[in-house]
């Protein structure tokens, strides 16, 4: 036990004396969280629009007011001719144009029909799509409120978005970020620290010592369990304080599941370091084989359901996917273990598999 403690102390010296490691360990979670929270947001706020309104009557003004007071849009300017639309788009900032036909209110009164054209800047298709949807939603809402007395038959869908009423992006990226960062810290850091010993030749000395391989490995990963755990807490606290991420379920269960996920990532890191001898290869494998799939295939950014069949199969092989499902279930829906035991078992399975493989691959000699 004294040996083990000495080993862990040495490991902490390594970590705390390397400012790059420290920066990755503690700077990265905060920076990533801020990046995803403020920069890479796909929510729309204050999109600039132009309006061409030749009729200028009660109805068109009402509609324009509704749109501008929604919070999604701000008026860039009112156009005086249709010809100004394209230059307005080309100047860049304008995302949407709203065009009423002449004599709007009158036509609506007489024929029950009037036209509004919504033109979106589809050079950014996702944003255009969303803006157009928001705008038409606002218009049809207005129409419904206007008609409620006259039209006898109406089906009005009452939409309610459960667990994330405001469709906030944070709810999605906090769990995703946790999955990604814990994977990065655990797998990348451990595989680097083990291959570093191999590169510097100190592994030779550790091997000829009476330390058992299991003691060496556990001693190497132990500090990272601890540090990754701190990181998980940092993300959770920042997510809650800065972005108002709810935490409905049991904190204890959440931390327990995070611990399991960290163990899974660590055993993966050990496996990587057992099959490589250089830090560079270990880094490549960790980044390419772990980071990218974690980001792309775990459902963190792109919904798994929309992927082609083969990719979906691949997605099911990504451990982070299950972790994301688990923490979303706990944080947003307030579920207990009875709802996530399936995913928990899968994570335990992955951990056991990686550990078994690395023990089988561990060499008690150099070659």
């Amino acid at each position: 036990m004294r040996r083990f403690r000495g080993f862990v102390v040495k490991e902490f010296y390594h970590i705390f004396r390397d400012y790059r490691t420290l920066l990755i360990l503690f700077g990265m979670p905060a920076i990533q969280l801020m990046l995803f929270g403020y920069v890479l947001t796909n929510e729309i706020k204050d999109a600039k629009i132009v309006i061409y309104d030749p009729s200028r009557d009660v109805v068109t003004r009402k509609i324009s007011d509704k749109i501008l007071s929604s919070g999604y849009f701000v008026l860039e300017r009112n156009l005086v001719s249709v010809a100004e639309i394209e230059p307005a788009f080309k100047q860049g900032d304008v995302k949407l144009a709203l065009i009423y036909e002449p004599g709007f209110a009158g036509k609506l009164e007489k024929t029950g029909k009037a036209h509004i054209q919504i033109i979106g800047d589809a050079s950014d298709p996702n944003t255009a799509n969303m803006l157009v949807n928001y705008a038409s939603g606002i218009i049809s809402n207005y129409l419904v409120s206007m008609n409620s007395k006259k039209v006898p038959l109406q089906i009005i869908p009452e939409v309610r978005m459960m667990y994330n009423g405001e469709l906030k992006g944070v709810y999605m990226f906090v769990p995703g970020l946790m999955a990604m960062l814990l994977m990065l810290i655990s797998a990348l850091m451990t595989s680097l620290s083990i291959t570093k010993e191999k590169e510097l030749g100190t592994m030779e000395l550790l091997l000829v010592s009476p330390m058992r391989p299991s003691q060496i490995i556990i001693g190497k990963v132990f500090p990272y369990v601890f540090l990754a755990f701190i990181d998980a807490c940092i993300i959770l606290v920042l997510g809650k304080l800065v972005f108002g991420m709810p935490l409905l379920g049991s904190v204890f269960l959440l931390l327990l599941e995070s611990f399991l996920y960290i163990c899974m990532a660590l055993s993966l890191g050990i496996l990587i370091s057992n099959i490589t001898n250089s830090q560079q290869v270990a880094m490549m494998i960790s980044l390419v084989a772990l980071m990218l799939p974690t980001i792309l295939l775990s459902g963190f950014i792109f919904p798994v359901e929309n992927m082609p069949g083969i990719m979906q199969v691949l997605c099911h092989l990504m451990p982070p996917k299950y972790y994301i499902i688990i923490i979303k279930s706990i944080m947003l829906q307030g579920n207990g273990i009875e709802y996530v035991w399936n995913e928990t078992l899968i994570l335990i399975g992955f951990t056991a598999l990686f550990l078994a493989l690395s023990i089988k691959k561990f060499k008690v000699r150099l070659a």
Binding site: R2, R3, R5, G6, F7, K10, Y13, H14, R17, D18, L200, G201, T202, E204, L205, L206, L207, V208, S209, P210, M211, V364, R365, L366, A367
Partner: protein, 311 residues
């Protein structure tokens, strides 16, 4: 307890096409300071790695203190100290932290075995708070040796401990090893420096994975079969090529500013040689009969098998 500390018989190790160790056999007595001398690629490091249980041999028997390197590798790891050829300590830990760490993983403390390393460690103790990566070559070696010895090993394996160390530190290092030997510890050292052979009790001269000879340094020199002269003149390059043409010459090698010339014939008259060189316009020729150095012996041994094949 077995009679010998190390027993190696017909050890063979192959890396792909290269034969790193070719049928190597030797014994090292307990408490002996045994040197392996040979150039890079002679197989010294491979041999040490097999002895320290880091590599498996393809063939042969290898025992350390009566323990088999394959079966009893865990026990051997407990009783041997190893200093790899490459400096392999933690550069970001201080001198003291390194020593403490190695004491801890061997289940001991610095205090418990301080007397053992005191002689060496005292020299670097003033720098105990300096990072190991910032030490000079000589100090690094001293620290590495301290770390290899802190657990009181019965056998010490030092792979090229003096490579990359200045001449003064090298001499100091050998003096330390000789003092260590007095405590009864068996020490195996490898080195590419021929002039260090004299510091060992016995040496094995190695070349291309084979041991060419094993004996005491004096005996190696005594067994040198030729008569040897050191020849100096103004133009060393001219001298070398002309000496090779001289009748009865066995070999000619450049040794710094002089040429070492050997003859099979013990009765060579140095006046005749001197006249020959003067006739070839060499000025200020000096010819001295000399005792062979280990390096001369090594060169001779290196050539012997090749000569046997051609004749």
């Amino acid at each position: 307890m077995p009679e010998n500390s190390i027993h190696v018989q017909s050890l063979t190790k192959r890396f792909g096409e290269t034969l790193a160790l070719d049928d190597v056999s030797f014994d090292v007595a307990r408490g002996e300071l045994f040197g392996f001398i040979g150039p890079d690629g002679a197989g010294k490091t491979t041999l040490f790695r097999i002895l320290t249980t880091l590599l498996l041999a393809d063939k042969g028997i290898c025992n350390v203190e009566g323990l088999d390197v394959v079966k009893d590798y865990r026990k051997i790891r407990r009783i041997s100290g190893y200093m790899p050829g490459k400096f392999s300590l933690y550069q970001d830990l201080t001198v003291e932290e390194n020593l403490k760490f190695f004491a801890t993983i061997f289940g001991t403390t610095i205090r418990e075995n301080y007397s053992l390393v005191k002689d060496i460690y005292q020299q670097i103790e003033p720098f105990k708070n300096r990072k190991a990566g910032k030490l000079s070559g000589g100090m690094k070696q001293k620290l590495a040796l301290s770390c290899a010895m802190i657990h009181k090993p019965e056998v010490l394996f030092l792979d090229e401990p003096t490579t990359g160390v200045d001449a003064v530190s090298r001499l100091e290092f050998w003096q330390m090893l000789n003092r260590l030997k007095e405590s009864g510890i068996t020490i195996l050292v490898s080195t590419p420096y021929m002039d260090e052979a004299g510091q060992c009790d016995r040496v094995a001269l190695m070349q291309n994975g084979r041991i060419m000879t094993i004996s005491t340094p004096n005996e190696v020199i005594r067994n040198y079969p030729l008569s040897l002269f050191s020849v100096k003149s103004g133009d060393i390059y001219q001298l070398l090529s002309e000496l090779r043409l001289y009748p009865g010459v066995h070999s000619v090698y450049a040794f710094g500013q002089s040429a070492h010339v050997s003859f099979n014939d013990r009765n060579i008259e140095k006046e005749i040689l001197s006249d020959f060189l003067k006739k070839n316009h060499h000025e200020s020729v000096s010819i001295t009969p000399i005792e062979a150095t280990i390096e001369d012996c090594f060169m001779e041994l290196m050539n012997t098998p090749a000569k046997e094949k051609t004749t």
